[in-house]
Amino acid sequence: MVKKVLIFTLVISCLGAKTGVYEKNCIPCHEDMAVKIDKFFYRYLLKYSSEMEVKNAMTKYLKNPKAENSILVDGLINRFGVKKKTTLRDTELQEALDTYWDQYQVFDKLK
């Protein structure tokens, strides 16, 4: 009985909170950073405007991060150090970015 309850809660927690690639891959690493991930998003938005261009630019950077391509100011990039190439497959990265976009895009949010 106790076993059953344990398995049940485990399955629930697995299905529930951290299901997507974004939640599993990006958040854990970014959570602890001084600059939150939404700030990065808005910086991309400021530079690239449309959904397509923002996603393209992020994909390009995440697959091959270089200091000179970063949208972070020099001070920050020096502090954090250039991140490593993503280990995600293309489709997974795409999915992560979709979630990322949906979370912070402004279209439905403005009032």
């Binding site: 400021l46 690239y48 405007s49 449309s50 959904e51 261009e53 949010k109 403005l110």
Partner: protein, 395 residues
Amino acid sequence: MLVLKNWDINLRSREKKTLRSFLFLYAFLTLLILAFVAFLYYGLERDLMLQNQRETLSNLTNEQIARLKSLHVNLGKEQTYPRDERFNSAIYDSSLKQIFSTLGTHKVNLYEDIYLKADRIYFIKELESYYLGARYIVLEVPAPPTWSEKVFRKLLGYGALIFSILVVIGYFLLGLLLRPMKETIALLDRFIKDTTHELNTPVNAILSNIEMMDLHTLDETVSKKIKRITIASKTISNLYDDLTYLVLSHKILSQDETIDLKVLLEERLEYFSLLFESKKIQLSYSLEEGIYLTIDRKKMTKLIDNILSNAIKYNKMGGMIEVVLSPQSITIKDSGRGIDKNQIDQAFERYTRFDRSVGGFGIGLSIVASIAKEYALHVKLDSVLHEGTTVRISW
């Protein structure tokens, strides 16, 4: 120049048609050109107005961009799109997708710079930093309130002025165009008038002298010749009457009296009897009694004479003529050469002749028409080419 004074009678319907199409074309062309100029002028005025608005709008846009910037920085805490009572605005991303809009319309031309539509001015600017992802910002303000009214009033004023000037020019142009035609008609009328004067006395002398002769005392051949002379003189006399009517008709006062049509018709048939004879025409008539009409005797005579003389003139040798008088009409039917269907309308016009081999000035039917018009009689012309013509006068 009696005839020239009255255009209605003077200008024949074909010429009137020409005139009308000329006027129509002229007015149409004038309006077309005016519309084109007005269009250009409107465009100029509009651009000037927009140019004047540009600086204010640019300043307002900068204010709005500053607000967008502060919203972008505070996103997460703040989500209210900045609004301003002086204008409506909208932002679009680089794929032209609308991010947010308070505009009255959803159709905005982002490729323009500034434009006017439905009394609103739209000002479009590209942002340098895409706050909120916005690459384009559009401001919408109402056009200066009295602007379009002012422009239209100006346009209407100038338009009316230029149009009236062009109308005056058109009037003179028309005079120029019509002068040769008017001169020709006047010349012809004058010629006829002069000829007429010289015709009267000799014809009367011939006719009255023949009347004085006693035909029974003469032998057969001479009396035959005299008859021919009578016919010829009567033809001339008829022509003389027509011409006087034509030239003086507007001066002749009608002396209306009650006329017994049967008596009059018999008299006229008698008058033409020699002509009938000479062409071996079979005359048949049925005249009802007791039909009266109040009309000028001379004019009614003229009307009947003209129809009868046409019926004879255009008839063939040994043809037939049928005259019927009924309470509502006179019908004169002949077996002549007839008139072509599409020429019937022209038949009543002065100087129109369909057959130049037969004498005449082509004024007979125009006289019939003018008399009929005066007394509100209906003249109906039915004709089959090579078979004959039926003229029906009804009242």
